[in-house]
Subunit: 111 residues, 2 copies
């Protein structure tokens, strides 16, 4: 495990990569959970997959420029990358507004 995670430069991130990263239901759910702007610990997403699988999805999100990873002691803190908005204005807002996973839908009584 490295102390420093590799994050791509935002200008090198392609739209198709972001869309691909968002096209997996679990990853979409993770991004939606981060949409409040709060950081989340790695384990705070109770994803129905093995730790190794979750790690894989986190890596995809990181390499697509969607999230940052930061180490804090033994925990791993995840957050949305703020520069994403400058690179693709409005994209994340639009997608998350339409995502069934979004927190608001849960609050207003989804299924």
């Amino acid at each position: 495990m490295q102390e420093h995670y590799a994050h791509p430069e935002m200008k090198t991130v392609q739209l198709a990569d972001v869309l691909h990263a968002l096209s997996d239901p679990l990853r979409l759910r993770i991004v939606a959970a981060l949409a409040t702007g709060d950081e989340r610990g790695w384990g705070d997403f109770d994803a129905p997959v093995a730790p190794s699988t979750l790690s894989h999805h986190m890596k995809v999100l990181r390499q697509a420029g969607l999230v940052t990873h930061r180490r804090e002691g033994t925990r791993c803190i995840v957050a949305l990358r703020p520069e994403l908005e400058a690179r693709f204005p409005g994209l994340l807002d639009t997608v998350l507004r339409l995502a069934p996973e979004r927190a608001a839908a849960d609050r207003t009584g989804g299924e």
Copy 2:
């Protein structure tokens, strides 16, 4: 070849499916080319792939609810599905606004 193409009901189309369909550069280009609202003949996209490959991508776009296929004589006419806007308001506008393929569409089409 069937006279009637299978198009999914819009309400059954999932966001992740749409994002996945848009996450391929060639498919994104095709959708961008259709964004003017005009119909296009199947062969009007000079895609750098074999006909069978193009047919595959067209099928993906059709099954994701993005486009309609219509037969006209021996030709095949493709167009964006208008109901998509009602299902996912603003999604396509946002994605296409950010797509690099838009520049090419602007040059040859204008707006």
